[in-house]
């Protein structure tokens, strides 16, 4: 009787144990190995990072969006500018073949390559690439770029990437959500199983928002033999001819903010 009770207590203790946190494979430098081709699951963030209805040419409905709390804390003057921008889609910079910037470029498939001193992210869209310097070097001064400048370090199993030197021209999505050159993004990539990384970005821009805010979505590992195909954007962009000012509008209430 006593032996059976002891066995039952031990079994109960085993069942009650928390599942072990995921231990990713390690590179030869002993840091997590997150190399591979990753596809974001992001609810149509390229249309709007906020919840939005679907519609023809406007993508699928997204009930939740990717923004924590479902609200973008724009200052009042900036909220008004957002609405104005939705009435001028001809000004959308991606329609002019500019780079998407961060975090916008992260809504699409990308590849990660890790070396001892840096991590390279390759994006298929716009054949863009980012080098995340992992050697503790500082952001450069007097430099601004569409894709900013990325410096990273590991915190446990999380890759933390600090993105500064952003220009004021890239946008978060196609819903008029803009930022200033004070944009500062901190990304966190946390592998949670072999085929999933949780991506979170903290956005800070005191010129435009009343407080920092966060977005998050999952990245899923895609087929290892997926091949990037050349994806430039300068030759077949004829649409600006047809995006005549005034006609290039979205329904004003299409996006909630």
């Amino acid at each position: 009787m006593r032996a059976v009770s002891l066995g039952m207590i031990v079994a109960a203790a085993c069942l009650a144990q928390a599942p072990k946190p995921y231990a990713p494979p390690r590179t030869s430098d002993g840091v997590p190995d997150i190399e591979g081709y990753w596809q974001p699951r992001n609810n149509g963030a390229m249309y709007s990072v906020l919840p939005h209805p679907g519609g023809f040419f406007l993508g699928a409905e997204s009930k939740e969006g990717v923004v924590d709390g479902g609200v973008l804390p724009y200052q009042p003057w900036a909220a008004a500018k957002v609405k104005e921008l939705t009435q001028h889609m001809e000004l959308d910079p991606t329609g002019h073949c500019h780079y998407e910037g961060i975090p916008h470029a992260m809504y699409f498939g990308f590849q990660i390559y890790e070396t001892s001193k840096y991590i390279a992210l390759l994006h298929e869209n716009m054949h863009a690439w980012r080098i995340v310097y992992m050697d503790g070097s500082p952001h450069p001064k007097d430099y601004s770029a569409w894709m900013g400048d990325s410096r990273g370090h590991w915190e446990g199993n999380t890759l933390v990437v600090d993105v500064a030197n952003n220009n004021d021209k890239s946008v978060f999505d196609m819903a008029g959500h803009f930022h200033s050159d004070a944009l500062h993004v901190v990304e966190r990539f946390t592998p949670v199983d072999h085929d999933t990384i949780n991506y979170e970005a903290t956005i800070d821009d005191a010129k435009v928002f009343t407080r920092p805010w966060k977005m998050h979505f999952a990245l899923r590992r895609a087929a290892a033999d997926y091949q990037f195909l050349e994806s430039g954007c300068f030759e077949g962009e004829r649409d600006q001819e047809h995006l005549v000012e005034g006609l290039a509008t979205l329904p004003p209430d299409h996006y909630k903010q």
């Binding site: 002019h96 390759l122 080098i131 091949q227 050349e230 300068f234 030759e235 001819e241």
Partner: protein, 251 residues
């Protein structure tokens, strides 16, 4: 004297002392780092061609002279291969088992070159073509097809057809050099395949990093940035012809 001998030997592979390069984790020569070319090839590729001439077929030369006169890179066109290598901008090589990745500062271009050979894509053209790599001893060989016919090999309007086929070779020759060679063939343009060769120099400046280089136009090459404006009408060279100097006078 030593300098002259080095220059003479740069085209003759037999006489070079082989360099033993450091190796990556999978035993391949380590090509990684930031590299630059230092020559005039981007102006005229015959500068780096064996024999300093390009063996044109006469009909190809005629076709070229009757062809377009605007360098495709003037409208943000990608430079193609091998021109992308010798554009006066640095590039970075990243190497992992089974792949060599080229990150070019010019136009933010990228090339992901598998070193496990696969069939080429067929029936499609890309500005940078389709690159498939493999190792021959300590040389990375990159075979490039599907290059289309839109690029120039340099600013001197050396053109090609969509039969262009380029084979590049990258070989470490010293702590700070790679020997880069390319065999260029196009039976509709050249009488025979021809070769170019040049050293790639490692950029050793402390803290040197690639930066963003962007070029953007749209609308079939008409500039639309920063504000949308309609396509220009009429003769695009009109403003040049209207200059006082062009009319032979001065004001």
């Amino acid at each position: 004297m030593r300098l002259i001998i080095t220059l003479v030997l740069s085209f003759s592979t037999a006489a070079q002392t082989p360099f033993t390069p450091p190796r990556t984790v999978d035993g391949k020569p380590d090509l990684q780092g930031v590299w630059e070319t230092r020559n005039a090839a981007s102006f005229d590729v015959s500068e780096v061609a064996e024999g300093r001439e390009i063996p044109y077929l006469p009909q190809a030369l005629e076709r070229e002279q009757k062809g377009g006169r605007v360098d495709p890179i003037a409208h943000c066109g990608m430079p193609g291969i091998p021109r992308l290598t010798y554009m006066p901008f640095p590039f970075q090589i990243v190497q992992r088992p089974g792949v060599v990745v080229f990150l070019y500062e010019y136009l933010h271009n990228q090339r992901i070159v598998t070193t496990n050979p696969r069939p080429h894509l067929e029936g499609i053209d890309f500005w940078l073509g389709d690159s498939v790599g493999h190792w021959e001893g300590d040389t990375l060989v990159v075979d490039v097809t599907d290059l289309g016919d839109k690029t120039w090999l340099d600013a001197a309007r050396h053109t090609h057809t969509d039969a262009l086929h380029v084979v590049e070779r990258y070989t470490r020759t010293g702590p700070n050099t790679i020997k880069y060679e390319a065999t260029i063939e196009d039976p509709k343009t050249y009488a025979r395949p021809w070769r170019i060769a040049m050293p790639l120099h490692r950029n050793n400046q402390p803290g040197f990093e690639l930066r963003e280089q962007e070029c953007t136009e749209g609308d079939d090459g008409r500039a639309i940035h920063p504000q949308y404006r309609p396509a220009p009408q009429g003769d695009p060279l009109e403003f040049v012809r209207s200059y006082p100097a062009a009319k032979g006078g001065s004001k």
